[in-house]
């Protein structure tokens, strides 16, 4: 199973990536459905900066262009974005 990860704003800048594919074949074979929390955990294994950036208190996650809670279930081909609170307007 593969999904698209997108990062924006200070998060994109801190982690030096804006978009990439993430392969989740190993965890998706387990019996529990893969949720946003599982993906955060997986990405946090990439290093200390990732762990810190993805565990900041106000982090927002959007699945297929909608803000979701941490228990939202992720499926093959989904687009999952992480970013700080919005500051437009």
């Amino acid at each position: 199973m593969s999904i698209t990860i997108k990062l924006f704003s200070a998060l994109r800048e801190a982690l030096g990536e804006s978009e990439f594919q993430l392969d989740l074949s190993d965890i998706s074979e387990a019996s529990a459905p893969v949720d946003v929390a599982a993906i955060k955990k997986r990405l946090s294994q990439r290093g200390a900066e990732w762990k810190e950036a993805l565990n900041q208190p106000n982090l927002v996650h959007a699945l297929n262009h909608k803000v979701v809670f941490i228990d939202a279930v992720v499926s093959e081909g989904d687009e999952l974005a992480f970013f700080p609170p919005m500051t437009g307007g």
Binding site: F8, A62, H65, P84, T87, G88, G89
Partner: protein, 153 residues
């Protein structure tokens, strides 16, 4: 009844004319946001607006439709810029047409309050002392929350 995401400056007069069209409702309210030359205590010389295009379009369309239903709008429009913006340039424009003034004005306010907290844009300010991402404001979150509890007036 539409959204525009654009890097070009907003032509307020053209947007107004298009919003109202040939047969205006009785009440038209608009709001325009401009780049300020300061932010809290420090000077700002330029602003960069990062955005998440597909999501931004979805969010703005949904919030326009939601305001239209809540306040019975006959027409609405939201224009938001992205990219590099100089001081005094337009950032955002919203317009609402309704049968009565209360609805038109409240719809503009709702669209702006919701947009501030829900639409995926991020401001990065440039000033004499360097660059920094703008932090979200508690006051914006509070204004946003009002619309969940308040009765339509």
């Amino acid at each position: 009844m539409s959204v525009s995401l654009q890097s070009e400056a907003i032509d307020v007069a053209a947007e107004y004319a298009q919003l109202v069209g040939d047969s205006p409702g009785a009440a038209v309210a608009t709001f325009t946001g401009y780049v300020r030359d300061h932010s809290d205590a420090h000077a700002v010389t330029e602003l960069e607006l990062e955005h998440y295009p597909e999501m931004a379009r979805n969010v703005l369309e949904e919030l326009g439709q939601s305001a239209a239903e809540r306040f019975g709008l006959s027409s609405w429009r939201i224009v938001h810029r992205f990219g590099r913006l100089a001081v005094s340039e337009t950032i955002v424009w919203v317009g609402a047409v309704a049968d009565h003034r209360g609805e038109a004005i409240s719809a503009c306010e709702l669209m702006m309050d919701t947009l501030k907290t829900d639409a995926p844009f991020w401001k990065r300010e440039q000033g004499p002392t360097g660059e920094q991402w703008v932090a979200s404001r508690d006051s914006d979150t509070e204004r946003r929350a009002r619309w969940q509890s308040r009765e339509t007036q």
